[in-house]
C-alpha cells in the first residue's frame, strides 16, 4: 500500500476553480465506454477473475451480526468455488486469489478481522476496510467522526472509507472540506484512506471534480463515488469525471491515486466495462487492486456464474454457487 500512498499537498484552489465539464459530452463518452470495447472467451474470463481481485466485498446494514460478517469473510478468502477453479485448470497461485478487501461498519471490524485470520494465509492477507465518519451522511460533529476512524483502526481496519462533508461542498466551502479530510487522514495513521464523495448529492459534475481534487490534495489514497445509499450511485458519467481528476492530479504531482466505484455494480459485464474504463482513461496500472476497487456485494455471485458458464457452457443456478 505504501508504494502509492498519497502524501497530499497544500490547498490550492487554482487546480479546480475554473474546471469546465460538459455533461452531455461526458454522457456521450460514457455511452461509448460501455459499448466501444468488448472482451470475449478466455480474455473475458481473465477479466472477470481480475475483477474479483478488485472487489471490496461489502456488507453495510443495520442487521449485520458476526453471523453474516463471518460468512462474508470466508467468501472473500475463497471467492471462486473450488469446482470452478478446478475446471478452469488454475494453478496454485491463480487459485489463491481473493477479493480486494471486505468492507464493513466500524462495529464489525473486529469480527471481520478475526474471521479472516481464521481463513489461513489467504485470509490474513485480506485487508478489512471500514466505513467511518458518520457514514453515510456525515451529519455528526467532527470529533466523533474522527474518533470513529481511530476506533476502527484500533480494531484492525487497514483501510478507512470516509465520507466528505456535503454541507461544506454544496456551499462551496472547499477549504472546509479540505481541512476536515486532512484531519481524517491524520486520524487514519497508516491505514489507507478512501474518500467517499457521495457524488449523487453534489449536484453538478463540476462539484464532483472539485471534491475529487480537494480530497486528493488532502491526502486521499482512493477517491470513491458513493456510499451506496444515495439516489444515484456509481455511474460511468461520474466515473469519467473522477478518473480524469486522478489523471490531472497525477500530472500535477506524480502521485497515483486509486479509484473505487461503489453502488449498483452487479454484473460481470458491468465489471468488465469498469475495468475497460480504467484501462482506457488511466492505463493498465489502474486495473489492479492497489489502485482500483469495486464496492459491491452481489457482483461476486454473478462473476462466479459467468466463470462457471465459461468453464462448462451451461448456466448454473445461483444456489449452485457457494454462498457468501
Amino acid at each position: 500500500m505504501d508504494v502509492h500512498g498519497n502524501p497530499g499537498r497544500d490547498y490550492d484552489e487554482t487546480c479546480f476553480k475554473d474546471i469546465k465539464i460538459n455533461l452531455s459530452a461526458v454522457k456521450a463518452k460514457a455511452a461509448e465506454v460501455a459499448s466501444r470495447r468488448s472482451v470475449k472467451k478466455q480474455w473475458q474470463a481473465a477479466w472477470q477473475l481480475r475483477a474479483v481481485t478488485c472487489i471490496d466485498l461489502t456488507t453495510l446494514a443495520g442487521d449485520d451480526t458476526p453471523v453474516n460478517v463471518s460468512r462474508l469473510c470466508a467468501k472473500a478468502a475463497h471467492p471462486v468455488g473450488k469446482d470452478i477453479v478446478k475446471m478452469l485448470n488454475m494453478n496454485e497461485k491463480e487459485a489463491g486469489l481473493t477479493t480486494g478487501a471486505v468492507c464493513v461498519y466500524p462495529n464489525q471490524v473486529k469480527v471481520a478481522r478475526e474471521a479472516l485470520d481464521k481463513c489461513g494465509e489467504v485470509g490474513r492477507s485480506i485487508p478489512v476496510a471500514s466505513v467511518a465518519t458518520g457514514f453515510p451522511c456525515g451529519q455528526t460533529p467532527l470529533a466523533p467522526r474522527l474518533e470513529e476512524i481511530r476506533s476502527a483502526v484500533r480494531d484492525g481496519a487497514s483501510e478507512i472509507d470516509i465520507v466528505i462533508n456535503r454541507t461544506y461542498a454544496l456551499a462551496g466551502n472547499w477549504k472546509g472540506v479540505y481541512d476536515e479530510v486532512c484531519q481524517m487522514k491524520a486520524a487514519c495513521g497508516n491505514a489507507h484512506m478512501k474518500a467517499i464523495l457521495a457524488t449523487g448529492e453534489l449536484g453538478s459534475l463540476r462539484n464532483i471534480y472539485k471534491a475529487s481534487m480537494v480530497c486528493m490534495m488532502a491526502g486521499a489514497d482512493f477517491i470513491k463515488t458513493s456510499t451506496g445509499k444515495e439516489g444515484v450511485n456509481a455511474t460511468l458519467v461520474v466515473a469519467l469525471v473522477m478518473v480524469r481528476s486522478i489523471r490531472d492530479y497525477f500530472a500535477l504531482t506524480g502521485v497515483k491515486v486509486g479509484f473505487k466505484p461503489a453502488g449498483g455494480i452487479r454484473t460481470a459485464k458491468d465489471a468488465c466495462v469498469w475495468l475497460s474504463l480504467m484501462k482506457e482513461e488511466l492505463g493498465e496500472e489502474w486495473t489492479k487492486p492497489n489502485l482500483f476497487r469495486i464496492g459491491a456485494s452481489a457482483l461476486l455471485a454473478d462473476i462466479e456464474r459467468q466463470l462457471y458458464h465459461y468453464a462448462t457452457g451451461c448456466y448454473p443456478a445461483l444456489s449452485q454457487m457457494p454462498m457468501g
Binding site: K20, S24, G313
Partner: protein
C-alpha cells in the same frame, strides 16, 4: 461443454488484461453472398439482371484484399433498362404519394447511411429511384435492394445499376433529379455534365471540416469529440474533421491531452470491435496521405503518429496529428479524406471565425466552449451547413445536413431534403431543346452597339420641342458611377424614339459592384429582420410617392395599352416590396425536433452576394420581384436589369438612396448581359446566381460556369417565361428557398445528473 479446456491455463492473460479479438461474425454475410453465388448483376424492376459480356468489377474485403463478390459494369443498355423500369414504376408510385414530383435519383459513393439519407426522401416525395453506388462500396446497396424486394416495394421503384460511370445515368434524358455524394472534383464534373439540362441537382461534397476549441471548453470532452470527428471511419466521412483550431491559452494543454488520447487508439481489422480504425476504402489514399505527411515534415511541421500500422491488414493509414504547420501549408490546404488532422492555434474569437471561414468548403464545424455567448455567435458566423456545439457528427433524418460553398448545395434530411426531390406544381418539368452553348465564347467579348444609330436622329425630336435625353449611370456602392468603358448606349421605345442612354458596364464594373456588395453583406446579413423590414417598407412608400415618374418612364416604352400596363407593373412592384418587407422577420428558422436532448435549430441564413440577371420582360416588376426577397432575407445583390428596358431599374437608385438602404446592398449594372452574366458566374465572391434571361444557353452557361471555384448555387429558368405578375410565380415560396441556405445548429443541453 464449450470446448473451453483448450484455452487453459490462462498463462499471462491474467497479468496483462488484453482485450483479445472481438470480431464480428461473417457467417450471415457469407450466406447472403453465397445466395447470390457471390456474383451480382443489376437490380432492375424488382429482379436481379445479369446481362452477359459486361466487364466485371470485384468487390473486395478491405482488410485482406480478398474478393467478396463480383459485380458488373453497367453500359448504356443497362442504364436504359433501369431508367425505363423506374419510369414505369413512377406512374403508379406517384399516385400513392401526395407529392409525386421528380422522377429519378442517382447517387454514388454511398455506404448505407448516405443511401438511406437520399432514397428515403426521394421515395417519400413520390419519386422512383435508380442508384449507382460507388464501385468501392456497393455491396450494402445491393443488400438494400434485396431487402426492398422482400418488403414488397413495388417493382421498379428502387433500382440499382453497378458501375463506375455515373455520367451515363445522370445524363439519361428521363432522369429529372440527380443527387451525388462524393468529392469536390466529382461534384464539379457532374455540375458541368448536366448543366442546362433542366435536371435538379443536389451535391454533398467533401468537407474539410474544422473543430474550434475555445479557452472555456471542457478540454477532456473536446478531445473525445476531436478523436471522434477526425478519426472515426478513418476520417473518410464527408463531415470528418481535418482542421483543429485551438485558442492560444489552452493550445499546449489540449494538444497534450489529444496526444495521450490518440496513443490509446487501435488499428487493425475493421470487423474487430476492439479496433478503432480499419483500412481506407481507397488503396491510393494511403500513398497520397503518406506523401502529404512527408511534405509537411519537410516543411518543418511535427508529425504525431502514435499507433503502429498493423502488419497483415491492407491499406491502413495511422491516425495522424500535424502541429507546427501554418494555414498556408499544403497539409493544411489539401483535404486529406483520411485520418489526418492539422492543429493550428488562434488568438481571439474573431480570428477563429476568420480562419475557419477562410476555406472553400463548408460542410460542418464543431465548436467547443462552455460559454454560451461564444458558442452561439460562432455558430451563427461559421459558413457551414451544420454546426455541432460541444458534440460532433450527430445526424438525424429530421435535420438538414449538406454543404455550403464548394461543399455543394441541396440538403439531406429535414424539409429541405424533400425540396430536392420536388418542384412547384405550377411549373412543369423542363426539357430543354436549345441549351448548347460554347462555354469559352459566351459573354467573352461585348457585342454592344455603341455607335449612334443614324435612323434614330429624327426620333430624338428636333425643332421647337427638343427632348432632353437622360444619361443614366450605374449604381453601386451607394452611388452613381460611370462605367469603366465610359460608353453608353441608347434605349429606344417601341416607336424607335430614344428615351435615354444607359451605361455600357462590363467586367470591371461587375468587379466593383461585387466588391461593394461583399463589403455590405456581413452588416446587412446580421441586421435584425425588423430593421430590414422597416427599410423595405420605406422603399415601398418612397416608390409610392414617385409612382407617377415610374409609370411615365415605363409608359415611354410605348406599345398598345402601355400606360395601363405600366400602372399595373408599378402597383405590383409596390405589392412585392410590402410582401417581402413583411417577411424580413418571419423566415429566420425553426426549432427542429430531433433525437437530441437539447436544441436543434434550423437557421435560414443569407447566402451572401447574389448575382441577379433579370428578365427582359417585366422590366421593373421582374427586377423588384427578384431583388426584394434577396435583400429581405439579408443578402446583398448585384442586379443586371432587363436588357430591353433597363431605365426603370436604373431609376430605382433614387428610391434606394432615399430609403436608408445601406450602400452596397443593392447594386445595378447595365451593359452587355452576356458579358455581365459571365463575369458574375465566374466571380468567386458571388454565392448564387439567379438567371432569368430569355435564352436556354444563358442558363446552361450559368450552371456550367458555377461548377468551378466556389460551386455557386444557381437558380435559372432554362429560357422559360415566368409570369411575375401572378402571385404564385412572382412571390412564391421558391423565392424564400433560393434566398436562404439552411444551417443546422446542434446544441446539447443539461447539467442535471442527480440531486
Amino acid at each position: 461443454m464449450a470446448g473451453a479446456v483448450a484455452q487453459f491455463p490462462f498463462g499471462s492473460l491474467l497479468e496483462t488484461l488484453d482485450y483479445g479479438p472481438a470480431v464480428e461474425g461473417e457467417t450471415v454475410v457469407g450466406k447472403w453472398l453465397d445466395k447470390h453465388n457471390r456474383n451480382f448483376g443489376h437490380f432492375i424492376s424488382g429482379e436481379w439482371q445479369r446481362p452477359v459480356d459486361r466487364d466485371n468489377v470485384l468487390s473486395k474485403k478491405p482488410s485482406t484484399g480478398e474478393t467478396l463478390a463480383t459485380t458488373i459494369e453497367a453500359n448504356e443498355d443497362d442504364v436504359q433498362r433501369a431508367v425505363l423500369a423506374a419510369e414505369e414504376a413512377y406512374k403508379k408510385w406517384r399516385t400513392l404519394s401526395p407529392f409525386s414530383r421528380a422522377k429519378y435519383l442517382y447517387s454514388w459513393k454511398s455506404p448505407l447511411i448516405q443511401l438511406a439519407q437520399r432514397v428515403a426522401p426521394a421515395l417519400a416525395a413520390g419519386n422512383s429511384v435508380v442508384v449507382m453506388p460507388s464501385s468501392h462500396t456497393c455491396l450494402s446497396t445491393l443488400l438494400f435492394a434485396d431487402i426492398c424486394a422482400q418488403v414488397g416495394l413495388p417493382h421498379g421503384v428502387f433500382n440499382v445499376v453497378t458501375g463506375s460511370t455515373p455520367g451515363l445515368l445522370a445524363s439519361h434524358p428521363s432522369v429529372d433529379v440527380v443527387t451525388l455524394a462524393g468529392n469536390t472534383l466529382e461534384g464539379r464534373a457532374m455540375r458541368q455534365l448536366i448543366a442546362g439540362s433542366g435536371k435538379k441537382l443536389s451535391l454533398a461534397l467533401s468537407g474539410h471540416c474544422p473543430i474550434l476549441v475555445f479557452e472555456e471548453a471542457d478540454l477532456d470532452s473536446a478531445v473525445e469529440g476531436i478523436v471522434e470527428g477526425a478519426f472515426s471511419n478513418s476520417g473518410q466521412n464527408t463531415y470528418s474533421a481535418s482542421r483543429l483550431l485551438v485558442q492560444e491559452p489552452v493550445y499546449t494543454q489540449l494538444i497534450e491531452k489529444l496526444k495521450a488520447r490518440m496513443a490509446k487508439l487501435t488499428m487493425g481489422n475493421n470487423l474487430d470491435k476492439n479496433k478503432d480504425q480499419g483500412p481506407l476504402c481507397d488503396a491510393g489514399a494511403v500513398i497520397r496521405l503518406g506523401q502529404l505527411v512527408q511534405e509537411a515534415l519537410a516543411e518543418g511541421a511535427q508529425i504525431f503518429q502514435p499507433v503502429a500500422v498493423p502488419s497483415g491488414v491492407h491499406d491502413c493509414f495511422p491516425p495522424t496529428l500535424i502541429t507546427g504547420a501554418q494555414t498556408s501549408s499544403q497539409i493544411y490546404l489539401e483535404e486529406p479524406c483520411g485520418p489526418v488532422l492539422v492543429a493550428v492555434p488562434f488568438r481571439t474569437e474573431k480570428e477563429a471565425i476568420t480562419i475557419a471561414n477562410h476555406s472553400v468548403s463548408g460542410t460542418a464545424a464543431g465548436v467547443w466552449t462552455e460559454n454560451i455567448s461564444v458558442a452561439m455567435e460562432v455558430a451563427s458566423l461559421l459558413q457551414v451547413a451544420t454546426v455541432w456545439i460541444n458534440t460532433y457528427g450527430l445526424l438525424d433524418a429530421a435535420c438538414e445536413a449538406g454543404g455550403y460553398k464548394a461543399s455543394g448545395f441541396g440538403r439531406t434530411g429535414g424539409k429541405e431534403s424533400l425540396y430536392s426531390y420536388m418542384h412547384p406544381s405550377w411549373q412543369p418539368l423542363v426539357r430543354t431543346t436549345n441549351s448548347e452553348v460554347d462555354l469559352d465564347k459566351f459573354g467573352a467579348s461585348s457585342n454592344s452597339d455603341l455607335l449612334p444609330n443614324v435612323t434614330s436622329i429624327d426620333a430624338l425630336g428636333t425643332g421647337d420641342h427638343p427632348n432632353i435625353d437622360k444619361t443614366y449611370k450605374l449604381f453601386y456602392g451607394g452611388g452613381q458611377k460611370r462605367p469603366d468603358s465610359g460608353a453608353t448606349h441608347a434605349v429606344v421605345s417601341s416607336t424607335g424614339e430614344v428615351i435615354g442612354y444607359v451605361p455600357d458596364g462590363g467586367k470591371k464594373d461587375i468587379r466593383n459592384a461585387v466588391e461593394a456588395a461583399l463589403k455590405s453583406a456581413p452588416g446587412w446579413g446580421r441586421k435584425d429582420g425588423h430593421g430590414r423590414s422597416q427599410i423595405l417598407y420605406y422603399l415601398a412608400e418612397n416608390l409610392l410617392s414617385r409612382k407617377a415618374d415610374f409609370v411615365s418612364l415605363l409608359t415611354s416604352l410605348g406599345g398598345e395599352g402601355s400606360e395601363e400596363r405600366a400602372q399595373a407593373e408599378v402597383d405590383l412592384a409596390m405589392e412585392r416590396l410590402f410582401h417581402w418587407a413583411a417577411l424580413c422577420d418571419k423566415f429566420g428558422g425553426t426549432v427542429q425536433e430531433s433525437t437530441l436532448y437539447g436544441q436543434t435549430w434550423r437557421i435560414h441564413s443569407p447566402l451572401g452576394v447574389i448575382g441577379i440577371v433579370c428578365p427582359d420582360d417585366f422590366p421593373f416588376l421582374g427586377f423588384i420581384s427578384l431583388i426584394a426577397p434577396a435583400i429581405a432575407r439579408g443578402n446583398t445583390v448585384v442586379a443586371v436589369p432587363s436588357g430591353q428596358f433597363p431605365l426603370a431599374a436604373l431609376a430605382f437608385h433614387q428610391v434606394l438612396e432615399t430609403s436608408d438602404v445601406p450602400a452596397g446592398v443593392v447594386n445595378i449594372i447595365t451593359g452587355d448581359r452576356k458579358v455581365l452574366t459571365r463575369t458574375l458566374a465566374q466571380h468567386q465572391d458571388v454565392a448564387s446566381i439567379w438567371y432569368f434571361g430569355a435564352d436556354e444557353a444563358g442558363s446552361t452557361f450559368v450552371e456550367a460556369a458555377s461548377s468551378g471555384g466556389n460551386m455557386k448555387r444557381t437558380w435559372v429558368n432554362y429560357g422559360r417565361h415566368r409570369n411575375f405578375a401572378i402571385t404564385q410565380q412572382g412571390q412564391g415560396n421558391d423565392f424564400l428557398v433560393e434566398a436562404t441556405t439552411v444551417k443546422t445548429i446542434w446544441c446539447p443541453m443539461g447539467d442535471i445528473f442527480a440531486n
